[in-house]
């Protein structure tokens, strides 16, 4: 229903808004624009040049609501009904108000209901203008005028009714005067016809001095009779006088008719203007009372709106209904709007019972935007308003935090909204926030990598990008800390070199967060990485061996000892690690038989006591069959002994 949409959203307040707040797209979507353009984004989106111009009513552009997107087109811009500053302010004001349950308010509502009922019934009656019902309606409206929240609308309507009725009364008076004039004209015509007949000899009697003409005519006739012996010519003056008199009276009649028509047309325009103003100011009850009373005020049957056929308003009504615009159109629009608002409020009550705050809020926004002054809206309970106000506040905070690119807060609020309303669809918000946070984290990571690579320029670029995407990213602090380290890395570098020369790799590893800045130095970068890798490997190895030694308390320590021994032989840096050495000693103690056998075998082999050495390798192999050292010793000595000469 385009007409309904037009009328429902027609708000005089909006017309005064010179620079309306833009209508961001649905919640999550404004952020990209906000990211690029910041909070001071363009105020409104404009329609394309070739788009049809918005309809106007009485020279004022009518805001048009697009229910599909909850946006309002007005003055070349698009506005989110739920986010427009004016709508928002009105809605918030409404939420913070308590329903007026005073005696006056109840009396006002009762009177309104009564008048609506009377006018509905009156619309079908045929009581005359100024009848008892009209008097009742007028008095009722003036009584309602004393209630401040009415805003004087009832009084204005009553005054318009009285004015229209006064015009009607004046027209009736003129009608009566015209009737009288018509009777006089008829008499004069009759009189004149007799005189003419007499003069022409067509018969008829000479009118007497006390004839049925008026006194002036009588005087004229007497003078004619006396002065003229020629009877046929004696009434010519009288005839002429009568003729002139008739013309004068007819002119008066025409003047009265013209005045009546003009006054009636003006009265209709004024009254229709009042009805349209009431409709546009969303006083649907008043508009309905006025529209239903229309045909009792103007009983000529003409209910057409006095609009120029070429005007936008006329086109609007034509487009809306396909019929010529009438007062009935206004009544229909007002009735429909009332019904729509009542349905919205019914939906709000039901949704609140089901804890569906999001949908309830949306319905209440539309109900308030369309019918703020309706009884069902103004009497909405305070407790329900508080609940929706809380949810509405969260919704505002979501938009604000999203606009400020505070994605952590946005997610937190979205979760809270979800907890209040399980049906709240937070998927888009959460996805968007997660994506932006990831982008920012990725930039921080790249910045840190650049820092480690010694690329300060790239670090600055990446960290700036990370801050631009998500200004409150906690990892930005990490970047700043790294930057501070970067600035003070020279002393650290010296200390690093000293520790390396002392082979205190474990110290570097334990304080790697402090020493990692040396990685910016290409010379030390590899050293730093090798040390971190070495100690990490040692720690991993020791952990694994510890588990193995716990699982098998006989062979486990032997295996651990031999593996550590092999590592130490492969890389002498292992021996410099205190944890490694401590572990080696611990396992040597736990596997002392195995260790003693290996050591004795080695010692004997050095002394060419190959028989003893081989026996010791055998012993070591018996204790730990998987021993590589024992196996290699056995193989080596076996070959030597077999090849020896005795």
């Amino acid at each position: 229903m385009p007409l309904l949409s037009v009328l429902l959203t027609a708000q005089p307040g909006l017309a005064q808004e010179k620079a309306p707040t833009p209508a961001p797209a649905p919640a999550p979507t404004p952020a990209p624009a906000a990211t690029n353009a910041g909070p001071q984004a363009p105020a409104k989106s404009t329609r394309a040049e070739n788009e049809p111009k918005a309809p106007e009513l009485f020279g004022v552009e009518i805001p048009l609501l697009d229910p599909a997107s909850d946006t309002l087109s007005y003055n070349g811009g698009l506005f989110d009904v739920g986010n427009n500053a004016v709508v928002r302010a009105r809605f918030e004001k409404y939420l913070q108000q308590n329903p007026d349950e005073s005696k006056e308010a109840r009396a006002y509502r009762a009177k309104m209901e009564e008048l609506l009922d009377i006018t509905q019934r009156n619309a079908r009656s045929s009581s005359p203008v100024g009848g008892a019902n009209m008097v009742l309606i007028g008095r009722g409206l003036y009584e309602m005028d004393s209630y401040p929240p009415d805003g004087g609308q009832a009084g204005a309507l009553a005054s318009a009714m009285v004015s229209a009725l006064q015009v009607q009364f004046a027209n009736q008076k003129r009608d009566r005067e015209n009737d009288k004039l018509q009777r006089e004209i008829n008499q004069l015509v009759t009189d004149t016809n007799r005189l003419v007949n007499y003069n022409t000899g067509r018969g008829g009697r000479m009118p007497s001095a006390s004839g049925r003409g008026n006194s002036k005519n009588t005087g004229s006739k007497s003078s004619g009779q006396v002065s003229g012996g020629n009877v046929r010519n004696v009434h010519s003056v009288r005839i002429s006088h009568n003729t002139k008199t008739i013309a004068g009276k007819e002119a008066t009649q025409m003047k009265n008719d013209a005045e009546s028509s003009t006054a009636l047309a003006l009265a209709k325009v004024n009254y229709q203007s009042m009805l349209a103003a009431l409709l546009l100011s969303r006083r649907y009850d008043h508009a309905l009372i006025g529209a239903n009373s229309y045909r009792h005020i103007f009983r000529d049957g003409d209910t057409a709106l006095k609009l120029d056929k070429e005007s936008k308003a006329a086109q609007l009504f034509n487009n809306a209904t396909g019929m010529p615009p009438t007062v009935g159109s206004i009544a229909t629009a007002a009735s429909t709007a009332r019904r729509e608002v009542d349905q919205h409020m019914e939906a709000v009550a039901n949704l609140l019972k089901a804890n569906k705050l999001s949908d309830a809020t949306q319905h209440l926004i539309e109900a308030v935007a369309v019918g703020e002054y309706m009884i069902s809206v103004s009497s909405f309970p305070a407790e329900s308003r508080r609940r929706i106000a809380e949810y509405w506040g969260l919704r505002r905070r979501v938009l604000t935090s999203l606009n400020a690119r505070d994605y952590g807060t946005t997610e937190e609020i979205a979760r809270k909204m979800k907890s209040l309303d399980a049906d709240f669809d937070d998927a888009m918000i959460m996805s968007y926030c997660a994506a932006r946070k990831q982008q920012s984290d990725l930039a921080v990571r790249n910045a840190l990598k650049a820092l480690q690579a010694g690329n300060e320029e790239e670090f600055t670029r990446q960290i700036t990008e990370a801050g631009a995407i998500w200004p409150r990213n906690p990892r930005l602090e990490e970047g700043r800390a790294h930057l501070q380290k970067f600035d003070s890395y020279d002393p650290v570098k010296e200390e690093f070199r000293t520790l390396v020369s002392r082979k205190e790799f474990r110290t570097i590893f334990n304080e790697q967060s402090r020493f990692e800045v040396v990685a910016v130095d290409p010379e030390l970068k590899e050293q730093y990485r090798d040390i971190i890798t070495l100690i990490s490997t040692i720690d991993g190895l020791l952990n694994q061996l510890e588990v193995a030694a716990q699982q098998d308390r006989v062979m486990g320590p032997c295996m651990a000892y031999e593996m550590l021994l092999e590592k130490r032989e492969a890389d002498e840096r292992y021996a410099s690690d205190p944890l490694f050495s401590e572990a080696l000693n611990r396992y040597a103690l736990a596997a002392h038989d195995f260790v003693d056998a290996l050591n004795l075998a080695t010692d004997c082999e050095k002394r060419d006591e190959l028989g003893s050495a081989l026996a010791n390798y055998y012993r070591a192999q018996c204790i730990y069959p998987g021993s590589r050292l024992a196996r290699e010793g056995v193989e080596r000595l076996t070959r030597v002994i077999l090849e020896a000469e005795f």
Binding site: C604, D608, L610, S612, N616, T638, A644
Partner: protein, 149 residues
């Protein structure tokens, strides 16, 4: 008085002779018995040699045992061959967790078809040899004779 003194003198001489004779016989019997008692049987000799071989001592310093001959009873645990020569790892009866390396040359007498897992009696001698580079190879137990148990 005088006769009585002569008789008494003859009787005393005869008594001394008997005493000496008996004492001599006893001494001889004791010596013989001791010798018989102390003479070991052939089996008892092998057992005594085996008891005296200490693998712990061998693992410490085998070259001290060079020239000694032992009879060892052991179970063959592993055999490594080079031509007809074999190096056998033997576990001794009283110490199954130890292995003793024995070099069995092709010329060793007795049953030389050694099989893993079987128990044999080895007569071994602790020897010192050398490699081709004239480097000493000390304390190797070389099998002289192998017997089945």
């Amino acid at each position: 008085m005088a006769r009585r003194s002569k008789r008494r003198g003859r009787r005393n001489n005869a008594s001394h002779m008997n005493t000496y004779l008996i004492g001599g016989i006893v001494v001889a019997a004791v010596v013989i018995a001791g010798a018989v008692a102390l003479k070991p049987a052939p089996e008892e000799q092998v057992a005594a040699t085996h008891r005296h071989f200490s693998i712990a001592d061998y693992r410490q310093d085998a070259s001290r045992l060079t020239g000694n001959v032992y009879r060892l009873e052991g179970r063959v645990e592993n055999i490594e061959s080079l031509g007809n020569d074999r190096l056998v790892a033997v576990s001794l009866e009283d110490n199954p967790l130890e292995r003793l390396p024995l070099l069995v040359r092709s010329g060793a007498s007795g049953r030389i078809n050694l099989t893993r897992g079987d128990v044999f009696i080895f007569e071994v001698e602790c020897c010192t040899g050398h490699t081709a580079e004239q480097k000493e190879v000390k304390g190797v137990l070389m099998v002289r004779r192998v017997e089945t148990k």
